[in-house]
């Protein structure tokens, strides 16, 4: 079979084709549906990115990004979110092999790193508001707080979701419905990291680039 598996013959060997095999298993349908939701979420973020890009120079005499953004804080936030994406992947592997203790450990690490990210972001926002750079100050700051705050809100929602999922693992064990929800959570968490790549590049790094 492996020898005959040239490119043109793939999928026509022993198993029936997708149309003959009937509906796909629920895990695939659920994850694909959630993938569609995540793509629509990315489209929503693209609208916020477009707003930010249009308004980035509309500072109305107020502070611009170069005066507000702290590179070190952003670097630590980025490291936290990237590491939490990795531990989330490790958690997915532990779920795949049904190891409960390892799942809890990596879920706790994912939660701690996500919470550290959120704490740093809230501290950054509080510092900006303390020096008068509030969302009301200029169109640039309105767009900034909308875009970055929307991502932060997603992270906060993800943290709550993670706690709920761990409670479900504790109470309901790895039954199929719980495993499907955990798969959706992992997709959500990795997608948030992808959005953060766009965020730190466009908002923070391009905002202070020489």
């Amino acid at each position: 079979m492996s020898i005959a598996a040239t490119i043109g013959e793939v999928g026509q060997q022993t198993l029936p084709s997708a149309s003959e095999a009937g509906p796909a298993p629920k895990r695939i349908v659920v994850a694909f549906g959630f993938w569609i939701f995540l793509l629509s979420d990315i489209v929503m973020f693209s609208a916020l990115f477009a707003v930010y890009a249009v308004l980035v120079h509309a500072t109305a005499g107020g502070p611009a990004g170069a005066q507000l953004f702290n590179q070190h804080s952003v670097a630590i936030e980025t490291a936290c979110l990237l590491a939490s994406s990795y531990t989330c992947g490790m958690m997915s592997l532990a779920i795949g092999s049904r190891r409960r203790a390892v799942t809890y450990v990596f879920a706790a690490l994912t939660f701690a790193l996500g919470a550290a990210f959120l704490a740093l972001e809230i501290r950054e926002f509080a510092g900006m508001i303390a020096i008068g750079a509030t969302p009301q100050r200029s169109a640039f700051l309105s767009a900034f707080f909308t875009l970055v705050g929307c991502h932060g809100f997603h992270v906060a929602a993800g943290l709550i979701w993670l706690v709920v999922m761990m409670a479900q693992v504790a109470i309901k064990d790895f039954r199929p419905v719980v495993v499907r929800r955990l798969l959706c959570f992992a997709l959500f968490w990795h997608t948030l990291d992808i959005i953060w790549i766009g965020l730190f590049t466009i908002v923070y790094l391009m905002g202070v680039a020489p």
């Binding site: 793939v10 994850a31 993938w35 990315i42 120079h57 590179q71 592997l93």
Partner: protein, 131 residues
């Protein structure tokens, strides 16, 4: 190279052994992804802060690094690959990226065009857009 009549769920690595060669273990896949992502992120932060590079070219370089890192995350963390068992996921992604491109590029194009053609008096321009 699929042994299943269905596409994979996004985020799933194939549960079947590959027809030729061995599929890499999950731990290795995530580790490679992490290393690549860290290298790309560190390069981005370095490029934005170094005086060594030609400044006008830095934003373009940052964009390239970001797109590369998004690709790394898609392949190594979300397991969206070009395999035959991933067609549905890739097609959905391609449509999403088309919409993202239209929204961002279209908005910037229209607003730049509008600013260029409206030509308000300089005082009014300053009220709207402090540059």
């Amino acid at each position: 190279m699929t042994d299943s009549p269905y596409d994979l769920a996004p985020g799933d690595t194939s549960i079947f052994p590959r027809a030729h060669g061995r599929a890499p273990s999950g731990v290795l896949v995530y580790a490679i992804g992490l290393v690549l992502a860290v290298v790309l992120t560190a390069t981005s932060f370095w490029a934005a802060n170094t005086p060594l590079l030609w400044a006008p070219g830095v934003p373009l370089g940052l964009a390239v690094l970001a797109i590369a890192q998004i690709g790394v995350h898609l392949v190594f963390f979300l397991h969206i690959t070009t395999g035959t068992d991933n067609t549905n996921n890739v097609l959905a992604l391609a449509f999403g990226l088309l919409i993202v491109f239209l929204v961002i590029a279209g908005s910037l194009w229209i607003m730049t065009n509008l600013n260029a053609h409206m030509m308000p008096s300089p005082e009014l321009m300053n009220l709207q857009m402090q540059r």
